[in-house]
Structure formats: structure tokens, C-alpha cells
Amino acid sequence: MSQAGTERGGVGGLRAAERLSILMRSFLIQSVWNARGMQNVGFCFAMLPLVRRLDDTDAVRGYLKRHLELFNTNPALSCYALGAAAAAEASGEPERAVDAKRALAGPLGMAGDSLMWGALRPLAAVVGASLALAGRAWAPLALVAVYNVPHLALRARGIVAGAAGGPSAAREVLGRPFCRVVTAVRAGGALGAGFVLAMAVSGGEGVTLSKVAVSGALFVLVVAALRLRIPLTLIGAGGAVGGVALMLLAAS
């Protein structure tokens, strides 16, 4: 990066407006997800605010090419990589920016997928579903809130921590305490799923032998089907067709 990139100011040499712009653009990091470069275009798009600091075409070309290289991670935690790479570019160390991207993509992807998709989204979903089954019309808002409070906090934190501490700042989401949080959230989701199951069995006309038997048999069948790697959509379609068959039986 040219010397224009070494302007001083803010966290990691990034001004507040630049950090905010990178944060907002990070929401589009998967806008052009593709098999060849994965999140490359989205990552480069998020890094564009710093292009304005460059003063010659060769520097712009090098900058764009660096950040159009293959990149893939969890979008919610991508801000740690964006912050670290942007701070390195701002301090005039492009090699360090590339190293930060390469070092963080995999670990952040594993940690983020595990927390956001494997734990937080199911927890938010069972909270929303249980409220909906209880007849609360605001259940969708609860789902969005349960997911997005930590989601948005992690994005905002990622930019600041990544810019201030570089790749090592990501340790806060890669260490053992973070794993314990993931385990606890997953356990909370499972607890909620059990509660939803109880709501289904005890709802409506109350607990009947037929409902318990049908629910139990379905549960065992679905576990077996999932172990055989049958897709959930196919299993769901089977359930819906079974429901239609029950209706036909009841109607006759």
C-alpha cells in the first residue's frame, strides 16, 4: 500500500467512519458467493473504504487483487478478519493483511458456524416456535431478537477488536471459554426442543395414548432417517403426506 495508507487516527489507524462503513458492508460479504473465490468479492467490497486512501493506480490494482483472493469464513465473525486486514492495510503492511486473512478464515469459520448456525439459530428457532405454539403473535420478533443481539454485538466487536489487536484478537472467539458458551447455547436449544415436543404432545385435546404413540414413533423414525442421511425436507414432506393421510382417514 502507498504511503497514503498510513494515515493515523482511530482504532488500528482506522477512522470511525471507515470502521462503520466496513461494518455495514460486512453484511454483504456473501452477496456474490461463488464456487471459485467464495466470499472474495464481498470481502473486497467491505474493504473498499480504504481504497480512497490510495494515490496511484498500481497501488489500487494491488489492493483490489489482494482482497479478491479466495476467502471464506462465517459471516458473523468475518469482522475480526476484516478489522485485522484493514488495520494492517492502514499501517502500510499489505503482507500482514493477507496473512491475517489466511490465518483467520478457517478458525473463524469453524467457530462461527458452530455458534451461529449450530447453536444460536436453533435456540432462537425453538424459542420462537414455542412462543408461536403458545399463541403469541410476537413470536417471530422473539426469534429475531434472540439471534441478533449476540450477532450484531459480535460483528461490531469484531471490527474494533480485529483493528486493535490484529489476528490475535480473534482468540476471544476461538478459545475454551467460547467453546463452553457454544456448548451451553446448544444445550439450551435442545432443552427448548424438548419443551416444544412436550407442547405438541400435551397441546390441543391433551395427552392421549394415540398422540404419545404417534409422536414417539415419529421421533424414532426421524432419528433413524437422519442417521441414514435422508434430507430433512424429504422427512418433512413424509410427515406432511402422513398428516394428509390422517385427515383423509378422519374425513372418511
Partner: protein
């Protein structure tokens, strides 16, 4: 609201919500429960939107839109499902189990088609990525922004077109199905909840989760049955 206007509105909603699945934001408005409520609100039938959305939320609980994974297009599928259920129930003279059952089946089918659409889009996106790269060679940063706009526009268009096509094709077919006497017994949550619970229990290395699942079920039964 006529069918044509309803389909147009639902298509626009599906296009917008499909962006949230992976392309933009990912703030979970594309989740079936939220998408169902939004589509239901647009149709003036939030209750149907919530029933269809909750059921699909439970069915697709274990689906993870991670990295290069293949996953059903839940947002578009849900909007079509709510559209089918809501518009069918108008014709049938009031809600009931049949429109909801057909709506859920339509959602699962369209979701599966949407999965193929997403895979095709990701191949097209390679061209947008190439466009950004070629512009970068000329030191032109606007190519990156242009690729992002094209990627988002194509995703929106595909989501809207899939929803419109799904509703236009499925509604006349399902309206032609002769339904018997009104039946309200479609046991939605009865089969969707075991699927959701099984999705947790069947996870690899899920010892603690299985225990929590059992505990949640036991506590739920005790609380809901009044101890």
C-alpha cells in the same frame, strides 16, 4: 386483494427475504417463522402465516446454510406455502386443515427447487467475480461494487420469480383437488415437533444435548400438565 395482486406482493416479499438467507444481512428474517408471519401479514391472515411458518421452522430446524452446503430455500418456500394456504382457504370458505397441509407440501417442494436455483446462482456468481477481477486489473474499484449489485439483484429476481412461478402453477392445480367435508384435524405440530427434536438428538457427539432434550420434554410435560 385479487389473486394476481397477492401473487405479485408475495413474489416481491419472497425476493426480499431470499436475500437474507445467505446473500445479505442474515438477520434471520428469512427464517420460516418470520417469513411466514410477514407473508401472512401481507395477505391479511397472520394466523395462517404463523401456523405454516412454525411448522416449517420445526421441520427445517436442522438445516444449516453453511459455506458450500446445499440447503432448501426456506424463505421462498415459506412465502409460497403461506400464499397457497391463505389463497386456498379464501376459496374454500374459511381456513381448516386442507389449505395448511397443501401449503406446507407446496413450501417443501418449492424449497427443494430453490435449493437447485441457489446452486445455479453460485455458478453464475463466478462470472460476477471474474468481472470484478478484470476491472481490478484496470485499477477500477467500481467493478467490485457492480458485481455486488448484480449478485444481489439476481438473487432477488430469482427468489421473486420462483415464488411467482410456484404460486401461479400450484394454485390452479390445488384448487382443482376435490376436498371432502371440512376437516380441521391436520395435526401440524404433532408431526413437526418430533422432527425438530430428532434433529437435535441425531447430531453427532450430542450426549449433553440428548440429556437436555429429555429434560426439556419432562419439564414441559410437568409444567403443561400442571404438575
Amino acid at each position: 386483494m385479487s389473486d394476481a395482486v397477492a401473487i405479485a406482493v408475495l413474489a416481491l416479499i419472497a425476493g426480499g427475504l431470499s436475500l437474507d438467507t445467505t446473500a445479505a444481512f442474515q438477520v434471520m428474517v428469512s427464517q420460516p417463522l418470520v417469513a411466514g408471519a410477514i407473508a401472512g401479514l401481507a395477505l391479511g391472515d397472520v394466523a395462517t402465516g404463523l401456523v405454516v411458518g412454525t411448522t416449517l421452522q420445526l421441520v427445517w430446524l436442522g438445516v444449516l446454510p453453511v459455506g458450500a452446503a446445499h440447503f432448501p430455500d426456506a424463505a421462498v418456500g415459506t412465502v409460497v406455502g403461506v400464499g397457497v394456504a391463505g389463497l386456498l382457504s379464501r376459496g374454500a370458505g374459511g381456513g381448516g386443515g386442507w389449505p395448511i397441509a397443501f401449503g406446507i407440501l407446496a413450501a417443501l417442494g418449492v424449497g427443494a427447487v430453490g435449493q437447485r436455483v441457489v446452486l445455479a446462482l453460485r455458478r453464475v456468481n463466478v462470472r460476477f467475480s471474474d468481472l470484478a477481477r478484470s476491472r481490478a486489473e484496470a485499477s477500477d474499484a467500481s467493478g467490485v461494487a457492480k458485481a455486488v449489485v448484480l449478485g444481489l439483484a439476481l438473487r432477488f429476481f430469482c427468489g421473486a420469480a420462483l415464488a411467482a412461478a410456484g404460486l401461479v402453477i400450484l394454485l390452479p392445480i390445488l384448487r382443482a383437488v376435490p376436498l371432502g367435508g371440512g376437516s380441521d384435524v391436520f395435526p401440524t405440530a404433532l408431526w413437526a415437533a418430533p422432527i425438530a427434536a430428532a434433529a437435535f438428538a441425531a447430531r453427532p457427539r450430542a450426549g449433553l444435548e440428548r440429556a437436555c432434550l429429555a429434560a426439556g420434554f419432562a419439564v414441559g410435560m410437568l409444567v403443561l400438565r400442571g404438575w
